[in-house]
């Protein structure tokens, strides 16, 4: 029942406002977390069915009459589903303590579950307009969540994010209109077949350009990244984790990859475009992260840089590069969410995000420091953590495809990444304890527990990377590498 992935978060979100006054303190947290536990469990359980069948298509029925809801699950969407549910569960655990100071919890969990429902719907939809619709759903939920604190910064960031995101959605819709005009259908399988049957025309290139612009803005690819460094720092830490770790990947990278690989079919020109965009993001993000004093802003620029890595892996075009790129999606989601949650703990404990004011916090907040180090090393690509393996695969993929220049830049950017992350760690946690922070205590239970879980995940995936690659990533790579052939899956054949 793939429909449960969308229906359960939607249903739980809608009953949340109906809770009575007494249960408002405990029930939102409980329901939110239980929903995510269910989603994660169901993702794992359905993986067994998926590996036997090679692809699941669900056609819903209502009292015996076929209802026209068709949902499709394949290796690539399953990987994303797993990433979404596991990281989101840790974020909701974190929110149990973190959201205590934000007033009412019911709108927060309701919007949060809506965002999850939107992301799941995007992942499972076989229809290009369905992708757009669920994209907008999670986007609307995220506008509300970014502004949740109702402070000046949050409102300003949310407004700018909304404006840019609305224009991006407009371009995506324009591209969909053109595709509908060219092929006469909205189903991904039909569009793929149609595009192969048509002679190449400039309108197809216009479509691709619009999709890259639209989804590129959602994924914060340079030069469409301007909203991210403002939106992510101002939002509550749990939402920054969700946005940076999941939303930009699902609504940006997944949608773009699915369309380019399975519907349009990747050509060498497209690969080159991806490589250049990836390099641009990687380098610009890394340089802009260097001078930051606000810890969350630096993490936001780092996200831009890491998305560049993912694009490089995808642009390499060979199975190694794809393996690395997709693995990096999962690894970066976990590590970046971990780092944002840690920054939330720091902000809650010290009241500031300014790195100049911090110092020596490790002695007062050992768990936060330890998990933060794990997260930083993971993103910087230090063995044996998970980030190392995905970056290595990306670089190997680039070398195998004879893109030596890009591989070199990737290695250099990696060194830069390691350097600025170590600087952050030293400034915030190590060194002399700043006297102001003498009274600071470790973060509350759930906040620490969720970060510890994520850190253990990073370490575990790093050590057990081989079985992870075999079971989760390889099926996804096959789907993408197979190209437009796999679009036939979406016809339900």
């Amino acid at each position: 029942m793939l429909f449960l992935f969308i229906a359960i978060p939607l249903a739980v979100a809608s009953i949340l406002p109906l809770l009575g006054k007494i249960s408002k303190r405990v029930l939102p947290d409980l329901l939110g977390n239980l929903t995510l536990v269910f989603l994660l469990g169901y993702t794992l359980w359905i993986g067994k069915e998926l590996s036997q069948a090679g692809g699941i298509v669900q056609r819903l029925e209502w009292l015996g009459e076929p209802l026209a809801i068709v949902l499709v699950l394949d290796g690539f969407s399953h990987l994303m589903l797993f990433t979404v549910s596991s990281v989101a569960l840790c974020v909701t655990l974190f929110s149990i303590d973190y959201m205590k100071h934000y007033g009412e919890k019911v709108p927060y969990y309701a919007l949060f579950l809506m965002m999850i429902a939107g992301m799941n719907g995007l992942l499972l939809s076989p229809d290009i307009f369905g992708i757009f619709l669920f994209l907008e759903l999670s986007a609307i939920a995220s506008y509300g969540l970014v502004a949740y604190g109702l402070g000046h910064d949050e409102l300003e960031a949310s407004f700018k994010y909304l404006m840019l995101s609305a224009v991006a959605s407009g371009f995506v819709l324009l591209a969909i209109v053109l595709l509908f005009g060219l092929t006469g259908s909205l189903a991904l399988g039909d569009i793929a077949m149609g595009l192969r049957a048509l002679p190449p025309s400039p309108l197809v290139w216009v479509c691709v350009a619009f999709f890259v612009m639209g989804f590129g803005l959602k994924a914060a690819i340079v030069p469409f990244h301007a909203w991210l460094p403002d939106a992510h720092p101002s939002a509550p830490a749990s939402i920054s984790a969700m946005l940076s770790g999941l939303l930009i990947k699902v609504s940006g990278i997944y949608a773009l990859t699915r369309l380019l690989f399975n519907v349009f079919g990747v050509t060498p020109t497209l690969s080159t475009v991806l490589l250049y965009l990836g390099t641009l993001s990687m380098v610009v993000g890394a340089f802009l992260a260097l001078g930051q004093n606000d810890i969350k802003r630096m993490l936001a620029y780092s996200s831009i840089s890491q998305i560049g890595y993912i694009l490089l892996g995808l642009g390499a075009g060979n199975p190694l590069g794809l393996l690395g790129g997709l693995f990096h999606i999962m690894n970066h989601a976990m590590a970046k969410a971990l780092l944002f949650l840690d920054s939330g703990s720091i902000e809650r404990a010290t009241g500031t995000r300014d790195l100049q004011k911090m110092g020596g916090l490790a002695s007062r907040m050992p768990l936060t420091a330890a998990t933060s180090v794990v997260g930083s090393l993971s993103i910087a690509g230090v063995p044996p953590l998970n980030g190392f393996w995905s970056k290595l695969l990306i670089i190997l993929g680039l070398i195998e495809a004879k893109h030596y220049g890009f591989a070199l830049i990737a290695i250099l950017a990696s060194v830069l990444t390691l350097w600025y992350y170590l600087v952050i760690q030293r400034k915030a946690f190590f060194g002399k304890l700043n006297e102001i922070w003498r009274g600071v205590v470790e973060a509350p239970f759930w906040m620490s527990a969720s970060t510890v879980i994520l850190a253990l995940g990073c370490i575990g995936i790093g050590i057990f990377f081989s079985p992870m690659l075999k079971t989760w990533i390889s099926p996804a790579v096959e789907i993408l590498y197979g190209g437009t052939v796999h679009a036939l899956n979406f016809l339900g054949l």
């Binding site: 309701a110 939107g118 039909d190």
Partner: protein, 162 residues
């Protein structure tokens, strides 16, 4: 309706859109937006797209205009925002330039487009919306709830965190 009537509708649509963006007074701009919607709905009626025409009038020209007017009412006072005059002055130049480019590109593309015709369609509208695009309905419900929750979240009491 003939060709000239259709051109009149298009001109009305674009004209009121231009007014909506460039008028100084916010209230007049919102009302121009509503008129633009009405012209758009008439364009839809001309193409025999009755359902979306009615929906456009009731929702866009109706509901959205009401929302705009409510917001304008809630944000009055403390003086107006002074818009720069220059964009308004150089706009006609850009407009003509773009119009020219537009016509050229469209003419060039006209000769090159081969298209597929796709599957023949069921002509009964409710059957299409309910029967063929049911997932869209789920999405719509979700989007409406998300909008409601977002507005609730933004207007809740006691949530400020500075």
């Amino acid at each position: 309706m003939g060709q000239s009537m259709y051109i009149f509708l298009l001109v009305g649509f674009v004209g009121f859109a231009i007014l909506a963006i460039f008028l100084r007074d916010l209230l007049k701009a919102a009302i121009s937006l509503a008129f633009s919607s009405i012209f758009l709905a008439m364009i839809f009626f001309h193409m025999k797209a009755y359902y979306v025409g009615v929906f456009e009038i009731s929702v866009v020209a109706g509901l959205i205009t009401v929302l705009f007017i409510a917001t304008i009412g809630l944000t009055k006072g403390q003086g107006d925002v002074k818009e720069r005059k220059i964009p308004l002055v150089i706009f006609p130049l850009f407009f003509i330039a773009f119009l020219f480019l537009d016509v050229v590109i469209m003419n060039a593309l006209k000769t090159q487009m081969a298209v597929l015709s796709g599957k023949p369609e069921v002509p009964h509208f409710p059957q299409v919306l309910w029967g063929f695009r049911t997932l869209d309905l789920v999405g719509q419900i979700g989007v409406i709830f998300a909008g409601v929750f977002a507005v609730l979240a933004l207007f809740r009491k006691g949530g400020t965190h500075e």
